[in-house]
């Protein structure tokens, strides 16, 4: 009997470690952003549609904002576009777009064709601002509070269900 205690104990310990790991594992392939709870990075991007209105960190102050990273080269972004238009129609928060490593003319054509859900769009032609936001694959969406703090990040195409569950529930 005695000789089984050690292996059984070790097995039990291993089981505990694995279960804890499974429970705490983030969603598969999703990396938790270190930006959460921190101020949005300082940035300034030229406006895609209106040259006179740049998109910058100060633009995020005083109201909740949905910051959406997209590009015309991104297939998932096309799938997400309907949802963004629907969120725009709800009118709860302004949507600011970061057009990531894109061709300006193509991006404008895309918004003309599919409709424009964005209140402002900044053109991140060299991809520097996206890096500061910790973006690693479009589309990505950030919820920023009126103090300019990043509250939530979602990787992948938004759906109305996700918007309801993860974003609207965080709006105060």
């Amino acid at each position: 009997m005695n000789r089984f205690i050690l292996p059984l104990g070790a097995f039990g310990l291993l089981l505990v470690v694995l279960v804890v790991g499974l429970v705490h594992a983030p969603e598969k392939g999703i990396i938790v952003s270190p930006l959460l709870g921190k101020p949005a990075p300082q940035f300034s991007l030229p406006g895609l549609l209106d040259q006179t209105s740049p998109l910058q960190a100060q633009s995020l102050r005083g109201h909740w904002t949905l910051v959406n990273v997209w590009g015309t080269w991104c297939g998932e972004c096309r799938a997400e576009h309907e949802t963004l238009l629907a969120i725009k129609a709800q009118g709860r928060v302004p949507i600011y777009g970061i057009d990531w490593k894109d061709d300006d003319a193509q991006a404008r054509a895309w918004l003309n064709e599919l409709g424009n859900p964005y209140d402002r769009v900044g053109a991140d032609r060299e991809g520097r601002v996206a890096i500061d936001w910790g973006v690693y694959g479009a589309p990505e969406s950030f919820l920023v509070n009126p103090e300019g703090t990043v509250v939530y990040k979602y990787v992948g195409a938004l759906t109305l269900e996700v918007w309801q569950r993860e974003f609207l529930s965080r709006l105060l």
Binding site: G29, S33, P34, K101, G127, R128, I131, G137
Partner: protein, 155 residues
């Protein structure tokens, strides 16, 4: 027959070399002016993860994001940042996950020390089992003699 093997060997060697050449060709940016800076650049781009492909380093990854991050590393080095500052900057954007070698802190301590601890535990168990077996053998007496006797009494 021999020539077939020779041709195959040459072809395989060629394929391997081609693969190696392709791996080197991913980062085709010009080297930094100072060889020491270039070495730091190479070290850093090899120990930072490409977040898009996740199992490749920045140096080995052909995707656009990796080349943007290589450009960032290069600019940081030229601006006089230390390796640690560059790592901190990357971690502040992408999290610890971007480092292929996790840093030693309270959260990762088990990761660093568990292998050694587990090996010690394993050794201890091994020694105990061996000793146990030895003791039992001593009590029973050497089995080889019994076996030898059994064999000799066989007609």
């Amino acid at each position: 027959m021999k020539t077939i093997f020779k041709t195959a060997a040459v072809l395989i060697a060629g394929a391997v070399l081609l693969g190696a050449a392709a791996a080197f060709a991913i980062d085709n940016s010009p080297p930094l002016p100072d060889p020491r800076l270039q070495q730091r650049y190479l070290n850093l781009t090899h120990e930072l993860r490409c977040m898009q492909c996740q199992n490749e380093s920045l140096a080995d990854s052909p995707v656009g994001l990796a080349s943007d991050l290589r450009r960032d590393v290069r600019e940081q080095i030229l601006a006089g940042a230390t390796d640690e500052q560059i790592r901190d900057l990357m971690v502040s954007r992408y999290g610890e996950f971007i480092l292929f070698r996790p840093r030693l802190n309270a959260r990762t301590a088990w990761l660093w020390f568990a292998p050694a601890v587990l090996m010690l535990v394993g050794l201890w168990i091994g020694v105990r089992v061996l000793r146990d077996r030895q003791r039992r053998v001593d009590v029973m007496g050497p089995p080889d003699e019994d076996a030898a006797r059994a064999e000799s009494s066989d007609p």
